[in-house]
């Protein structure tokens, strides 16, 4: 997902760069009559509008198809494993830290004091899921760990002076 976001951003940013450079290069010679130029520019803008709309709207809808807020239907088999997590200044309290791979896990995240963020990093240190940990509320992360290994948990919401040390681990694999 990060790779896609990065590449799509780069492409869009480059397209804007080309547009701006094109205008800058073509800024030197003056076309005295602005009226006809405006007319052409407006008709190009209409085309541009629809081009952008035809790309953006499907992308916008497509990305709403599978939201992290509810479990993915039939994504995995087996009983749901549950981890209850409470964030504290400045440590994570978990009632278990070991789960089976390829089986659904519900991570129920809350906090005992201030806002924290429960971020799960895979063994390659890539963020794969997160939810805010807030006092009085429980946010549930629905996840299936695809491979065995040690996953790191980092705090994703600033919570004070030891925020960056608020780490723990989840072991995925046979105990």
């Amino acid at each position: 997902m990060q790779e896609t976001a990065w590449q799509v951003s780069l492409v869009l940013m480059l397209m804007i760069t080309f547009g701006v450079v094109f205008v800058a290069i073509n800024s030197g010679k003056r076309e005295e009559e602005y009226g006809p130029l405006v007319k052409r520019a407006y008709s190009f803008r209409t085309k541009l509008f629809w081009a952008v709309a035809f790309v953006f709207f499907p992308a916008m809808i497509y990305n709403l198809m599978s939201l992290p807020y509810s479990p993915k239907a039939a994504a995995s088999s087996g009983p749901t494993q549950v981890i209850n997590v409470t964030g504290h200044m400045w440590y994570w309290e978990m009632d278990r830290d070991q789960v089976e791979p390829n089986q659904p896990v519900d991570i129920r995240v809350t906090s005992a004091d201030v806002n924290h963020g429960f971020g799960i990093y895979d063994p390659d240190l890539r963020l794969i899921a997160q939810a805010q940990a807030m006092p009085g509320y429980t946010n549930v992360i629905h996840i299936t760990f695809p491979k065995e290994g040690t996953y790191r948990v980092l705090c994703m919401e600033y919570c004070g002076v030891a925020h960056h040390n608020m780490m723990t681990e989840i072991k995925v694999g046979k105990s």
Binding site: M1, R30, R45, L127, M156, G160, V161
Partner: protein
């Protein structure tokens, strides 16, 4: 159908108050940039200031930057708006005094009181310090923000009053008769439309912000006065998002006003323009849930609204304002000087930064990128290369000795240093976000450090360039207050 003729207007000099705003902006902006550099260098392990100082500086950098760009944006808006409506200089100065009072309170809270709950002051962190700071320090910080907010409320009330008395209502300030009826060509100029939008959204945003600040201040002293943390977060981000966005919408007035002087082409408030500003007025107020996508406790429709409006919001930026700037510059014979360069590049910075921003507002992306360095990556792009470039462009405009004055090689080098420094710095932020580096970390994991180093060098280049901009402006303060032709005329007209 509107005709496209340009009516020249003389370049007015800045009032003393505007110059006071800008000088203070220069000083604080530079200091906050240096704070930002210190944070990057700490993460890059080039220096060692420790976590406490990192987070104190982070709190100052966040609050200070939001405040100071708002001050600079207000200076631009006020300078141009007063050429159309009758604004009160007294209230303009009262805002500055309240601002400085708030700044002193915040500095005292952080530097003397060790407060470091970040500018977001998410409830209940300010009152849950684990003994790191006192309730008094928290109250001083939030009180400081409140005082600054009150100043801006006064300023916007005065602007609302002036627009209503000149145009007959805020809807008329947004050009609604021309938008929804026949376009009689009498819509208010872009500067007025933008000021009306900013005033509407900021008044609402500031009232919400002040409400949560007052609630939290009461909670400091009466802990039994309970606040729902989810509600507090929603209110804080509503206020924060509206306020920081409004800053760009204030500063863009410089582009609307100055680029037409360089190109001798009008920037007309036609139907598309008016529609886009009315749409922005609404969207800016409903887009804030994109800060809350990882709070599953909110209703789903509310979070999906943040996602959808994030996509829609890019249309006015790209298709109307960005495109509009390209249109009046294309084959205009524009003469490039520091002012026209900076204003032109500011639209690039705004548009290009909006791309990673709306992508971050995609729920499935946010799930793995929220609160990574991707976020400061995008907002530094459109604030620095967008909004701040507009401010410096405005400063070069005010200080330009005469319409044909050439720029020194140093200034031109600083322009490119600014562009390259900012892009290098923000792209390394974005790349760090791509590899999942968390934001607001005093210490980075070893895998993240190389990019912090790269970012630090680009940040140094950027700050060196800004030093040139600021030095140039300060040496030209005497010119800035006079009325004379500043903008170079486009090529074929001048010769």
């Amino acid at each position: 159908m509107a005709t496209y003729t340009y009516t020249p207007v003389p370049d007015q000099g800045a009032k003393a108050g505007v110059l006071a705003y800008l000088v203070i902006s220069c000083v604080v902006l530079l200091l906050m940039m240096l704070f930002g550099l210190l944070m990057r260098m700490e993460q890059a392990q080039m220096i060692s200031i420790g976590a406490l100082w990192f987070y104190k500086i982070m709190t100052l950098h966040g609050a200070g930057m939001v405040g100071i760009v708002a001050l600079a944006g207000a200076a631009i808006m006020w300078h141009f708006l007063r050429q159309y409506v009758d604004l009160s200089t007294g209230i303009f100065m009262a805002n500055l005094i309240l601002f400085l009072t708030g700044v002193v309170m915040i500095l005292a809270s952080v530097l003397l009181g060790d407060f470091h709950a970040a500018w977001t002051f998410l409830f209940p962190l300010p009152t849950t310090s684990m003994g790191m700071w006192s309730p008094g320090a928290a109250a001083l910080f939030m009180g400081g923000l409140l005082v600054i907010g009150v100043g801006f409320v006064l300023l916007h009330l005065d602007i609302a009053r002036a627009i209503i008395s000149r145009y007959g209502g805020l809807g008329r300030g947004l050009g609604w008769p021309q938008l929804f009826g026949p376009d009689d060509g009498n819509a208010p100029p872009p500067a007025v439309v933008a000021s009306t939008m900013v005033t509407i959204v900021n008044l609402i945003g500031l009232v919400v912000g002040a409400s949560i600040l007052v609630m939290m201040l009461i909670n400091v002293y009466v802990p039994t006065f309970e606040i729902d943390p989810l509600l507090a977060k929603g209110m804080i981000y509503f206020f924060g998002h509206v306020f920081i966005n409004a800053v760009i919408y204030m500063a863009v007035i410089a582009v609307y006003e100055i680029l037409p002087r360089y190109t001798q082409r009008p920037w007309k408030a036609n139907k598309v323009f008016l529609a886009s500003w009315t749409a922005s007025t609404i969207m800016v107020m409903f887009i804030f849930p994109h800060h809350l996508l990882m709070d599953y406790a909110y209703p789903k429709w509310f979070l999906i609204m943040g996602h959808i409006i994030g996509y829609l919001n890019t249309f006015p930026i790209l298709i109307v304002t960005g495109y509009g700037a390209m249109m009046i510059v294309y084959r205009s014979g524009i003469r490039w000087d520091m002012c026209s360069r900076l204003l032109f590049v500011s639209l690039f910075g705004w548009a290009v930064g909006a791309m990673p921003a709306f992508i971050d507002g995609t729920i499935t992306v946010n799930y793995v990128m929220h609160n990574t360095l991707w976020v400061p990556g995008h907002f530094h792009t459109y604030l620095l290369l967008g909004m701040v470039a507009m401010v410096f462009g405005f400063m070069y405009y005010l200080g330009k000795p005469n319409e044909n004055a050439p720029d020194s090689a140093l200034d031109v080098a600083a322009f490119w240093g600014f562009v390259i420094g900012t892009m290098g710095f923000t792209m390394s932020f974005l790349y760090s976000g791509k590899i999942s580096a968390a934001r607001r970390y005093a210490e980075h994991l070893p895998e993240w450090v190389p990019y912090d180093k790269i970012a630090s060098y680009f940040a140094m280049l950027l700050i060196a360039s800004v030093l040139v901009f600021i030095f140039r402006f300060l040496t030209r303060l005497g010119l800035a207050s006079r009325d004379y032709q500043r903008a170079s005329l486009a090529r074929s007209m001048a010769t």
